[in-house]
Each structure stands twice: as structure tokens, then as C-alpha cells.
Amino acid sequence: MTDRDLNREWARSQIEAWADGSLAGDSLARMDAALTSDAQLRAAAERAVAVRHALRASSAERMPGGLRRRLLAIPGAERRTTYWWALPAAAAAVAIVAVALALRPTAPPPIDPRVAAVQDFELAMRYLRDSASLTRLEVSATLGAGLQEALVTSRESLERATDETGG
């Protein structure tokens, strides 16, 4: 692998960080240089920015106002007097909290928009394929040979999948 390849690979791994503005210093300069010299990378970066804007514009998952207020209302650390007799109780409390944290359902990791796009596309194609399977051979005579073959191909694929999965 050449230095150029390595640099390109590094730059691709930094697209999201670049798009959200978290790159700084040497990394930012290196990324800017890579973007200048690589049109494909630039296009990918522009798409990342576009997705970011689209997600930001989406109102689907806003944090409830009440939750935000409660989070902001959590007081900062205060200086407290240590009562030695309270240590066992505190230790027990810490243990309980630790167990509770260990048992609580973990939040799903954030989905990479690129992965989500591929998954969505794949699901869309599955629906297309499954819809084509309903047509059997009742395809209109006006249908072009291309689409007819497409539907037949899709249908055969579905039948193979059904056979393989026993579905």
C-alpha cells in the first residue's frame, strides 16, 4: 500500500469528523489537502455534510423539553463532610448503582448514515423483488423485454431464496 493510499484511507476515515467540524490543527490541514486533491473524497465529504444537514433539519427525534430541563437542573458537585459511619452504606449504594448500570439496556450505537442508506436500499430492493414475485407470468404484452426479464429474474431469485430458506 502506497503512502497515497494510506493517506486516502485515513482521509476517508475522517470524513464524519470533518463534516461535524471536530477536526482541528494538523488533522484539519491534512484533510483539507486531501479534499483538494481527491474529487471522489470531496464528493463523499459533501454528501456527509448534506446528510448531516438533513438529519439536523429533521424534527423526528428531538429531546423532550422536560428531560433537557431535568438534565440541566442536576446540581454540580458540592463539598461535603465525610461521615465515616456512612461509608458501608455508600459502598452498598455504589454497588447497587454499578449493578443497575450493568443491567440497564444499553443505548444502540449511532447508525452510520452510509450503512443506513445501504440497508434502506437493500430493503427497498427486497420489496421490489417481492412485489415482482406477485406478478407471476401475468405481465402485460406492452411490457418491454428488459423489465419482463427483470421481473422474471427477480421472481426466480425469490423462488431460489424461498427454496433455500424453506420459507
Partner: protein, 193 residues
């Protein structure tokens, strides 16, 4: 005055819709308000770029099939209940509209409560391969499984390649080979097998 403005807005909206349909884009905005869809997929060019990138690393055939595809959208409704009549009417009305606007009915099936329409819009663009479509729209309502599926793919579509791609997805791993891209879950209920 207000009526004039409304009329103008209506005309503009109609022009936009007509133009959009002429380009192979089918508006899902007219689907009757029967609640949130179970599946809602909107892949505009920016997101399809990611799919293109993934395909480029996996299969030249997939890249060819994707070339020219500009928009992919899917809506799936389940547990429709008494709203099925409204959806069936929507499919009938939309079919008439699409046919008026130059879409060809490739498939029409209506039997046993199952209503399948596949429309294609032959391209009006110059300089593209013969057989290219501007749009492909699928509408399925199924009273048996109590669900409806709407799909629209627009752009400059090579139907044969798109069909092959749809057939290959999730089978021999067009996208399964892409790092980080897990196979999509099967459509809910797998009602179409």
C-alpha cells in the same frame, strides 16, 4: 384575492406534480392519511451516493445498475383495517393519473383481494440507451395480509439491471461484502413469499 392566490398555488402544485411524474417521480403525498407507515424509505441522490460507493467496492454490475437511479422511496402500511377501501381507491385514482401522464401499466393483477399495479415511464430523455425508464412505480394492496406497499424508483433506470440487482440483494451478497453493512432485515411478516 385570497382565492386567486390559492388558485395560483394549486396550479403551481399541479405543475410540480405533473413535472415530477413526467420525470418518473411519483408523489406519495397523496396517499390517504391512514397513520404512519410501517416502513418509510427515502433515498435521495445524496444517500444513494453512499449506496453507489458501497456497490463500487462490491460489484461492477451493481454499480452499473445503480448508475442513473436518482430516487428510491418505499412506503409500507400494515394493519390497515377499514382504511383499505381508501387505499384501494387511491391506487385506482393514481393509476388513471399515471396513465394520463404517459406511464405504461406493466402489470395489473386484481384477484383474491390482492391488487398489484406496476407502472413504468419510458424515458423522454435523449441520448440514453433504448429501453431506459424514467420511473418505476409499484402499488400493492392486499386485503388478505391487510397491508399495502408503494415503491417508486426514478432516474434513468435500466430495468433489467435493476431487476437483477433486486434479485441479487441479500442473496449472493452484493452488499453483504461491504464492511459495516449488515443485510437488511426481511420485510415485516414476509407476506410476499
Amino acid at each position: 384575492m385570497e382565492r386567486n392566490v390559492r388558485g395560483l398555488l394549486g396550479a403551481v402544485a399541479l405543475m410540480i406534480t405533473t413535472t415530477a411524474n413526467a420525470q418518473g417521480y411519483f408523489s406519495f403525498d397523496e396517499i390517504p392519511d391512514i397513520g404512519e407507515p410501517t416502513v418509510q424509505i427515502d433515498l435521495p441522490p445524496a444517500l444513494l451516493g453512499f449506496v453507489n460507493e458501497a456497490a463500487a467496492g462490491a460489484s461492477p454490475e451493481a454499480t452499473n445498475a445503480l448508475q442513473g437511479v436518482e430516487y428510491v422511496r418505499v412506503r409500507v402500511y400494515e394493519n390497515i383495517g377499514p382504511n383499505m377501501a381508501a387505499l384501494t381507491k387511491f391506487v385506482a385514482d393514481t393509476s388513471a393519473t399515471l396513465e394520463r401522464e404517459g406511464w405504461h401499466a406493466a402489470v395489473r393483477i386484481r384477484e383474491d383481494g390482492e391488487n398489484v399495479r406496476i407502472y413504468m415511464k419510458p424515458t423522454t430523455r435523449t441520448g440514453v440507451a433504448p429501453g431506459t425508464l424514467d420511473g418505476l412505480t409499484v402499488m400493492v394492496t392486499d386485503e388478505g395480509s391487510d397491508e399495502a406497499v408503494f415503491i417508486n424508483v426514478s432516474g434513468a433506470i435500466q430495468p433489467e439491471q435493476l431487476g437483477k440487482l433486486a434479485g441479487a440483494v441479500g442473496m449472493n451478497g452484493v452488499f453483504n461484502q461491504v464492511p459495516g453493512a449488515r443485510p437488511a432485515p426481511p420485510p415485516p411478516g414476509q407476506p410476499r413469499q
